[in-house]
Symmetry: C2
Subunit: 707 residues, 2 copies
Amino acid sequence: MAEAAAQDLLLAAAFVSDAQYNRNIPFKTSPEAVRLYQLYNHWMMRTATYFFIFLNLSLALFEEPAVYPLPFLATSVLEVLCLLVFLGRLTHFAKVTLHNVFWKDTKNICIMVAILLSLTDLAIYGVLRLYDVRSIRWSRIVRPIFLINFAESRQIRRAFRSIRNTLPEITYVFLLFMFSLLMFSLMALKLFGERNLQTAEGLPYFRNYLEIVFDLYVLVTTANSPDVMMPAFDFSSWYALFFIAFVIINTYIFMSLFLAVVYNNYKKHLKNEIRKLAYMKRRKMIEAFNLLKEKEGEQFVVREARWKQLVKLVAPDTSSSHRELLLRISDDEQKGFVGTVYLPWDQADPWHSAADKKSFVQLADLLNIQVVTLKIRRHPLARWVPALYGSAPSRLLRSVLRHRAFVWTYDTIILINAIFIALDEESPYISYAEWVFLAVYVLEILLKVYTYEPREFFGKTQFWNWFDTLIIFAALTATILNATLKSTMKYNSQQILDIVFILRVLRLIRIVDSIQRFRVIMNTLINIVPTMLTFGGLTLVVYCVFAIIGMELFHGKIQYFPANSNTPHALECGNPALKDSLFARGKYCKNNFNNFASSFIVLMELTVVNQWHVFANGFANVTAQPAKLYFIAFHIVMVIIIVNIFVSFILEAFFVEYSLEKSEVETAIEQKIQELGMGVQEIQDSGCSAAAHVRGRDTPGGRRPFL
Amino acid sequence: MAEAAAQDLLLAAAFVSDAQYNRNIPFKTSPEAVRLYQLYNHWMMRTATYFFIFLNLSLALFEEPAVYPLPFLATSVLEVLCLLVFLGRLTHFAKVTLHNVFWKDTKNICIMVAILLSLTDLAIYGVLRLYDVRSIRWSRIVRPIFLINFAESRQIRRAFRSIRNTLPEITYVFLLFMFSLLMFSLMALKLFGERNLQTAEGLPYFRNYLEIVFDLYVLVTTANSPDVMMPAFDFSSWYALFFIAFVIINTYIFMSLFLAVVYNNYKKHLKNEIRKLAYMKRRKMIEAFNLLKEKEGEQFVVREARWKQLVKLVAPDTSSSHRELLLRISDDEQKGFVGTVYLPWDQADPWHSAADKKSFVQLADLLNIQVVTLKIRRHPLARWVPALYGSAPSRLLRSVLRHRAFVWTYDTIILINAIFIALDEESPYISYAEWVFLAVYVLEILLKVYTYEPREFFGKTQFWNWFDTLIIFAALTATILNATLKSTMKYNSQQILDIVFILRVLRLIRIVDSIQRFRVIMNTLINIVPTMLTFGGLTLVVYCVFAIIGMELFHGKIQYFPANSNTPHALECGNPALKDSLFARGKYCKNNFNNFASSFIVLMELTVVNQWHVFANGFANVTAQPAKLYFIAFHIVMVIIIVNIFVSFILEAFFVEYSLEKSEVETAIEQKIQELGMGVQEIQDSGCSAAAHVRGRDTPGGRRPFL
């Protein structure tokens, strides 16, 4: 009996923590399965999975064409190791999931197929290599599948789902846009084709229909404006009207339309996801309740003791006062049990019923709310040397430090420091000044730690204190290291100097924190950083795929030689086909697909869009004209879709931050805290908005959406 | 007594039509004043005002430096004429407005000051000219004030108000952005300043702090990517990280933040404006009601006869059946009078109470709804030659034309035509084919007019029918004209040929109309065209101001010489200072500020952003380095503010079109029509969305917002 109760508790805890993290895995309900499941979700297991995913992706750095070459044997052993880890992780997952659910999930099938493909390709390539036959490692483009499809990276999967849902609508707008492009190209052919005009490079202007389409597509991205217009404009000023109409219709209206379609779908999709999550959370919480419920009069309830056991199991690191607080909120009238509200989900508004008071169901939400338990700790020095710390000079010092003028003084010092940084480094006085400034900053930190309680000063939410301290101590270390190297070995390490310079400038950011309006904007930006990482993942996936294809297509076609090289065709990037091309004239030779890192930088430049046609033409010259399709495809995927999703995300995040109100559950907690006379600390003044404190994990990226 | 009643009616009509058009002029209430007010609002008076505003603006084309030079006497007489017209218009306005309201309104003061300034400047310039002293016509930059401040252009004023409200928030983000820019520039100076690197043009790279700031500002606009990175990247690949961080933070995050701030304010501002308008409308309608009300039992009402008189006065061109319909809606139970709902505005939701049934107050909304009275007219031919029109072959022909296959046939013909257009013009067969295609299109239009009732076919909402017919007949005229010229004078007029080409290609647009999904997008775009004209006005104002300043600063500094010119420095745009500059190498000489039209084209190119730094450097070389500030200012005003407002507008308009639901009043009308058995025509199939038919004038730009 006791064992059955313990098992129920374990299972209920699994449900609750699943609801807490919005996971949706219908795990097996045997105790061993639940323990396996908890192991599966352990942070170490998840970190290890991420590690191997990134190891697998970064293998491209060491494989041919390599940035840091490793023998084929080493990379293939590493790859097999990664694949084995993935297989192990998948098997672990299969063990905790219901059989039919596991095999219905496409992402599991995807992973298995990807593992199989990778192994097959590796084997074939290895065998062919033994016989010295060069083949293509085509399976490398399936590697990002692991990043997308492992349950840990659901944010990225969500973004991909969002893209998939947007595709049909985008496609229609895109077709209309292409139609407009083709029509304008036809007009351009008719208007300019037989005028024998020449471009600034002396090439024929607007003769070939396909070239016109490409040139006008580039104009949509504005990359060849106004060059593409100049020959026609020089011929007759009236022709400018053609290009103005083209730019208004295609660049301004159609590109805004793409953003509108993407943003509209993004909002719609976000709303649906949140509804689904809320439904799932509620269902899990009711399942947990059913496991623990006991009859009490007319209704089923969970008794206080079991409730406490459950919370201890789900969140072992909450303090007992925190637990007590949560219980007081759930059991408002102190009846000794927690009830639930039995409303079928679709009858009631899921937000309100889930947040209903006196309900067991709200537990997951309650646990998600960060309540900073602030013990009014005495300063350690006040305990160790109370006489000294409490003496008059010490008290005076501390009150000076808490004064506004202290902040202003340091802001002035920072401004003076900025001027010193901008001045020339050569004068010895200025390099002495650097030591003075460092000392002043270190002194500031020491004084602050003297005044404020250290554990409070370095609290989890004190972003700027951490930032300051890290920057100053890194600068101190690097400066000392540099000075030591210089005095002992008469040698200036360029890397260390660069880091010192950067750290020195970064110190100046602190001044932003002193101005209230700037702090609000900065905090908005800092708050959206975690979700931005999703876009980092998304970009990584797209970049990996395009980089691997790009290396196969363009590897070795363009070489970079240093300025003083004697190699023939050094100025034409080692390829006579580039003679007189804009690519060679722009000295773009180092932008090539010769290894994984270079490819990433080229793709970054293509994302920024400007001059992408020079790249497209350059690489088309050294391979074949259809190579331009690669660049157009990248533009459509990256700029039209992903950058627009990124902008949508920033817009939405910004609007949410600006219209942020506390949720009902948060208000309930604060109210209860006040009732209990604990006092709510307003954390605004310590440099971090209160919003950051009461943020739940309800929504993707941890933010509440418009509903 | 009768006269007083007539006066009341007149005044009430003035109130109602004011409410209908959302005007907010507290006019005097004497009958003469109301008549003067109606004259003031007459469409001819308004058109005349617009004409003189644009005449005044276009004077810049004829004044020194002129596109089409006119003697100073002619332009100054024209300007004085314009100013007199403005003064007359203002006096007219003063006569109908209450004294204290008129003098409190800043826009009236603005107009008076602008007129005074213009006259003073004109007089001074004229006198100095007599003594051959060259001075600046500085008052020309106040000319756009007339476009902004005349009551007719309230849309533009609204946009300016929106900008003004956005400014404080934009400023904070901008300052933070500038801080980030200055910090990165400082880092760049420290990292690259002492490396002795050179740009692709062989100039020193990143030596001077101010130049670095400018270069990095240009990088934010992406215009000099990747060139600005290449020297550092060639030196060490790691330095690419600096530029990647810079682009992510400044180009992607900060620029999106600007859009977010602008869009957020745009939405907020739109909401406020609509609330204000709804309040105003309701107040005016209640005032009109109070003038006409009579006691009926317990409540005040407006009797049917007066109501009808009123409607006749406000909208003289509504048919009697339409009037009857509106009465039936307002007087639902046919009691012979129309009542009102007395709710203070702020107590009730203005939208719902204003749209409440059985209310007088809704009259203005009712009048705004376009109800297309479709008489099922018989075809004129059926009346004139009934035997022939009703015969079996004629009926067969008409049913063929109404068949889907007929549309498909013509779509195929259009596609074949597209191929013919793309083919070479030289072959005589192809120019014969052009005649065949023209004949086929003319035949189509004739057949359609034969099948459908002509007045229905050329209805107000049949955009595509009008488009087709205009394009075909313009093409026919131009082609015949061209053929005549060619055969009689052996001379091909280039202008006519160009127009023929453009018309030929425009014909192909028709194919879009055949595909439902494309039609929806096209209709959305066509529906937002009127509001886009507001942005045209806004852009015109900014362009005018910058063009006039630009002409003062850069006039004559850069000259364009045709390619075969022998002038010295022809390749350097007539200015040795441009030797070896990117400006001269790009052959940008025709992009100059030598006259009003050229200035507009340069500003257009600067709006598109790409290569703007080449322009800025070019013009700074021929004048002075601070000239760059002009280009930076233009970028901030035009790209950061106005283009973002334009994008916000497209986003909002698109969302509204996609989430379009009929308003309550519209539904009420449709319901009543159905009750009366008149039948609502669904207009979707005739190529125009129903939404276009039931659109009110409630909101700026005629669209309903999110609320």
